[in-house]
């Protein structure tokens, strides 16, 4: 019951990213999503009592729900983008496409016959949807920072799928992945800042000079 509703709220938070008008709201939703992820790992720890889930939950909370959104937020303040999020297609069309994608993810999980742990079954289609939708966010958004947000959604999906297929990756690998993600976000912040100061805009449409 608990697990069902958490899985649903993770999916809903991903859909919300398609409806937001402001980058700051998108960052807040991302932080919320990571927080829900923390709770879901915490519950798994409660059920199984395996200590490595506790470490994973703490890392998720600190890195994904606090530090990463803060870095993104600071970047936004620094380059002062208050304007609206622009998508290549309008938000409702992209929301419909997103729903189709997650239906496809549900269809896939039924047919792939993947293994899963006792608590992991409801998470499987959700995590697969998050991976697809993360990639989709990166494709439909023009702003550089939102491509970073899409990447983190993908990473959240991967984290969830590792947990629901088995017992998660070994903890030191998990730490390595967290470290990489953190560095990625720092570099995304840096590049966004430089792209903004060079082109006076965060639109990746400006990044189309190299061809052939």
């Amino acid at each position: 019951m608990w697990i069902q509703s958490i899985a649903t709220s993770l999916l809903v938070s991903t859909f919300l990213l398609f409806l937001t008008r402001r980058i700051t709201t998108a960052v807040k939703i991302l932080s919320l999503q990571s927080f829900i992820l923390t709770i879901s790992v915490g519950i798994v720890w409660q059920i199984t009592g395996i200590s490595h889930f506790l470490i994973a939950a703490i890392l998720t909370l600190i890195i994904k729900a606090v530090i990463i959104p803060t870095i993104l937020y600071v970047t936004i303040i620094k380059i002062d983008v208050k304007r609206e999020v622009e998508g290549l297609i309008n938000p409702y069309t992209s929301l419909i496409a997103a729903i189709m994608l997650s239906l496809f993810a549900f269809y896939l999980t039924i047919h792939l016959n993947l293994p899963h742990s006792d608590f992991g079954k409801p998470y499987l289609p959700v995590s697969l949807s998050m991976i697809f939708l993360g990639a989709f966010i990166m494709i439909v958004h023009k702003k550089a920072l939102l491509q970073g947000i899409g990447l983190i959604v993908m990473e959240n999906g991967l984290f969830l799928i590792a947990m629901s297929l088995g017992f998660g990756m070994p903890i030191f690998i998990e730490m390595g992945i967290f470290f990489d993600l953190l560095v990625t976000v720092v570099i995304i912040g840096m590049f966004s800042y430089r792209i903004h100061s060079t082109f006076e805009s965060l639109n990746t449409e400006n990044l189309q000079n190299l061809k052939g």
């Binding site: 293994p115 993908m154 799928i161 297929l165 990756m169 690998i173 992945i177 430089r194 990044l207 190299l210």
Partner: protein
């Protein structure tokens, strides 16, 4: 034990020291010392492994067999060349005010971090950590690609960072599936991601999950290895990065990503058999084919070389895909030969770029008269890269072609010959114009730093030497590596 710590810690300390110290001349000497020391450690480990047994440390977390040692050797040779070359190149950029004093220090910091991240990929036994290290190579090299902070280099760096990260995210999905199939056989076991362990149980893994894992990893690491159609970041990144970095990207980074694929290939080959080869064959041929039109209409020198890297990664993949003793041998030899030749080409292109202040091939004219040493070496390397005898790449390309006829992949070999025929014509056409055209009047030949020209002779030894004959120690090394690729290593 001591060597492995030395290998991994030397670049880190060198990078940090060079970043911390403000005296530029001292920095160059420390950079040189650190690079040479790293190379000594690396080659010493490789020597131990080739002449003795695989090397493992830190509770099997580190495991170096002939395949890893082979990759380490290539990394060391290219990094030595690039390190020597960097001194002259960066000095020139600083002198021209292309970069600031602060960037001078940052370049060396990131350079050494880049090298150590690639060494990390080669030495680890754990596929999960291999992923972490490959992601790190993307992050550090993205900083180096965006080093010049121009609009175009930012574009290249951004594209590279995003495409690389997404690609590798799919590889992580594959690795998770691999881990699941591992613990399915081995039980809850933290070593279920060690390929030495997976290799032993390879034939018992679930084929359905293994197929998915292999495809995701092939696509993911393939993005970083420059396979078509995921290669779009590659020409941008290679053309915008500083030239010594382009050489390392092309000569080592692509190989390192391919090394990740090879590790999975060894396991998947035992679980799945022939279907693995079909995938590799497909990606290989597509990568060669897709570069043909781009090379034929290219204006930018470094982009042409970058597309040629896509082509050659395709040829290596094709060789492994064809398989058989000859195919594997050819592919491995080609890996080595391509690294040497392409790093020579990128470094020579860097010299030309600095002399002519342009990367456009229609402005780089009469290079043999303007910069005789670089010009002649560049022409030799172009002959080599297009597969002309008596140079090294001819030997390996010919071996791969022969393997295709022998292993019932005749059509692959025939397509391969047609494609490289076109590429040969295109590259040679542009090179001849560059070599013998009329030098533009406004170009004032400026003496290049001796570092920038001497460094070119290190890869040249292999470009010419391995064309004339492949020494017996090399054949022995390649046979050891081939044995591992068959899954019989240890």
């Amino acid at each position: 034990m001591f060597e492995i710590s030395g290998l991994l810690l030397t670049p880190v300390f060198t990078g940090l020291t060079v970043w911390g110290i403000r005296n530029k001349q001292l920095c160059e000497w420390i950079h040189l010392f650190g690079s040479v020391l790293t190379v000594i450690f690396g080659l010493k480990i490789a020597y131990f492994v080739f002449t003795g047994t695989p090397f493992s440390a830190w509770n099997d977390f580190i495991y170096i067999d002939a395949l890893s040692a082979f990759n380490i050797s290539i990394t060391m040779l290219v990094s030595l060349t690039a390190a020597l070359y960097s001194i002259g190149y960066i000095r020139h950029e600083l002198h021209d005010n292309t970069i600031t004093g602060e960037q001078f220090h940052r370049y060396y910091l990131w350079y050494h971090f880049f090298i150590v991240s690639m060494l990390g990929v080669s030495v680890t036994n754990n596929i999960g950590f291999l992923w972490v290290a490959i992601e790190l190579t993307t992050l550090v090299s993205a900083l180096l690609v965006g080093f010049y902070q121009r609009g175009t280099s930012l574009e290249a760096a951004w594209k590279y960072l995003i495409m690389g990260s997404v690609g590798i995210a799919f590889a992580l999905l594959g690795i998770i599936l691999l881990y699941i199939s591992g613990i399915d056989v081995l039980g809850e076991e933290h070593q279920a991601l060690n390929w030495t362990v997976l290799n032993h149980v390879a034939s018992m893994l679930n084929p359905q999950w293994m197929t998915l894992a292999f495809i995701f990893i092939l696509v993911g690491f393939g993005t970083k290895a420059g396979f078509a159609p995921m290669h779009f970041w590659l020409p941008d990144a290679h053309s915008q990065a500083p030239s010594p970095i382009s050489a390392v990207l092309s000569g080592v980074l692509l190989n390192t990503a391919f090394y990740g694929i090879l590790r999975i290939y060894v396991i998947a080959n035992q679980t799945l058999g022939a279907s693995v080869h079909t995938w590799l064959l497909g990606f290989g041929l597509l990568s060669v084919a897709i570069t043909v039109p781009f090379i034929l209409v290219q204006h930018d020198l470094k982009r042409m070389l970058a597309y040629s890297s896509v082509e050659h990664m395709g040829i290596i993949t094709l060789g492994i895909g064809i398989g058989g003793p000859l195919g594997i041998y050819g592919a491995l030899l080609h890996m080595f030969n391509h690294s040497m030749t392409k790093s020579l080409l990128f470094l020579a292109a860097g010299n030309l770029n600095q002399v002519y202040h342009s990367k456009r091939m229609d402005r780089i004219l009469g290079m043999i008269k303007t910069t005789p040493v670089t010009g002649i070496l560049f022409v030799i390397a172009i002959f080599a890269i297009t597969g002309l005898p008596p140079f090294n790449l001819f030997v390996s390309e010919f071996t791969i072609m022969l393997a295709g006829f022998r292993e019932n992949s005749m059509w692959a070999s025939i397509l391969f010959i047609i494609f490289i025929g076109f590429i040969f014509a295109g590259m040679l056409f542009y090179t001849m114009k560059m070599a013998f055209g009329q030098t533009p009047l406004k170009v004032k030949p400026k003496p290049l730093s001796k570092w920038s020209t001497t460094a070119l002779f290190i890869p040249l030894i292999f470009v010419i030497g391995f064309g004339i004959y492949v020494p017996s120690f090399m054949t022995d090394i390649l046979n050891q590596v081939a044995l591992i690729l068959k899954g019989a290593g240890r």
